[in-house]
């Protein structure tokens, strides 16, 4: 075994007091408090649609928004928690199952909404482009903030952590979209929501890898 004394001496010399990382719940609440308003403000770059919440069928939209926001927060909290060494994803199976289960419920609600909504011609040009743009604009500042938050702790498995964080951002963006979306949901529209979500997850993972690696 080699002698590591020099390294130990050097590290000890450079030691300074540090502030311990806050619990994942606190970090998530701080992130939500900053990221959601920032995301919503970013969407002001495009014309905003305000739905009539009293219109019939808005129950689906309310359920989707609620589920999406809860999912977003849960996934981001999971990412913050598992970014800390010694807290692997596989040890958080309960949380993972909760997020996965909630995602399935969200999908079921979306499917129910689509079935209840009159369907447009799928080939209508531009179907879902507004929603895609909205989610990307809302997601942009949230991606930056989640990467900055993860940079504080770094991550031993950056890809995995950023994937989970990206899912959280995608659902949060979908939740914000629900505030500016009609109560009806069309297949083409929903496909673009999913495409925007996938883009957000991909961008979070690609951009954040360099900054978050431990």
């Amino acid at each position: 075994m080699a002698d590591h004394r020099m390294l130990i001496d050097s590290l000890s010399q450079s030691l300074a007091p540090i502030r311990r990382t806050r619990p994942p719940v606190m970090r998530t609440l701080c992130w939500v408090a900053l990221a959601l308003p920032s995301g919503f403000l970013a969407t002001k770059l495009i014309p905003t649609f305000y739905p009539d919440w009293t219109a019939p069928g808005m129950g689906w939209a309310i359920a989707q928004v609620g589920l999406a926001l809860v999912l977003g927060m849960a996934a981001v909290m999971l990412a913050f928690d598992t970014s800390i060494p010694g807290r692997p994803l596989r040890a958080r199976s309960g949380a993972v199952l909760f997020v996965a289960g909630l995602a399935l419920v969200w999908l079921a609600v979306c499917a129910g909404n689509m079935l209840a909504s009159p369907q447009l011609d799928f080939n209508r040009l531009g179907a879902g482009v507004y929603c895609y743009t909205f989610m990307m604009l809302a997601g942009a500042p949230m991606i930056v903030m989640v990467i900055l938050a993860l940079r504080q702790t770094r991550a031993l498995h950056p890809r995995r952590t950023l994937l989970v964080a990206g899912v959280g951002v995608a659902f949060a963006a979908a939740g914000l979209l629900g505030f500016c979306h009609p109560g009806t949901l069309h297949v083409a529209d929903f496909c673009m929501h999913l495409a925007a979500g996938a883009t957000i997850v991909g961008l979070t993972t690609l951009i954040g890898r360099r900054f978050v690696a431990a």
Partner: protein, 226 residues
């Protein structure tokens, strides 16, 4: 590895409260600790590691040095579960110590320290093995090629020696007169006329000898390169 409390100036020649390594070397900078123990302090017990880490997070360099010194064997054992090469294992231990230093703020003293360290050691070990695998897949280790690249001129004497041996082997298969003809014309660069005069033969005779010599060498698997 042990850190010894210096309790006797006469014995160690260092001020009271100074840490020394077992070989008598004093660390580059030491910090006196007001909670000096009168007895000699050896490697801290694993149950003390979380408390030492908490003190290190507060900036206690003495506790940090003590902790890292105690952790090295444990980290080494964790790394050797995955890395079997000694040199690579030492590199991974150093990488682990550096990573621990970078992310020391993420450790929660209410939790055990070993899972935190084990996770870091495992991640660094896997990274090192992946890096090694990439290098082995993309790089070819060929000593002769490497020597040529480092010192192209250095290989020439070896080439010349190899060629001379080859030429001698070629000439050994020839009868005396054919060998002389080849040596005069091909190696000494004499003209055919000159070689005929030197050997007291006619020019056609020299040409015949050369022709038969080259045919014989081809039979032994050697081509004529002029």
């Amino acid at each position: 590895m042990e850190l010894a409390w210096c309790a006797d100036i006469a014995e160690h020649g260092a001020p009271l409260g100074t840490f020394i390594w077992p070989d008598g070397n004093v660390p580059v900078s030491t910090q006196s600790d007001s909670a000096l123990r009168p007895d000699r302090q050896t490697t801290p017990d694993p149950s003390e590691w979380p408390a030492l880490m908490e003190r290190s997070q507060a900036g206690d360099q003495h506790a940090y040095r003590q902790l890292l010194g105690a952790l090295v064997p444990a980290i080494h054992n964790l790394v050797r579960r995955r890395v079997f090469d000694d040199a690579l294992a030492d590199d991974v231990v150093q990488e682990t110590l550096l990573t621990m230093h970078r992310v020391r703020h993420t450790y929660d003293p209410a939790r055990p320290l070993l899972p935190w360290i084990a996770a870091i050691a495992a991640a660094r070990a896997i990274d090192a093995l992946r890096r090694q695998g990439r290098i082995q897949r993309r790089e070819v280790w060929n000593e002769a090629t490497l020597a040529m690249e480092l010192d192209p001129d250095g290989a020439r004497p070896m080439e010349q020696l190899a060629n001379r041996h080859e030429v001698e082997r070629l000439l050994d298969v020839l009868p005396t007169r054919q060998r002389q003809a080849v040596e005069m014309v091909k190696l000494q660069q004499m003209s055919v006329d000159h070689a005929a005069q030197a050997s007291h033969l006619s020019v056609p005779a020299i040409k015949a000898l050369l022709h038969r010599a080259l045919a014989r060498m081809r039979q032994h698997g050697i081509g004529d390169h002029g």
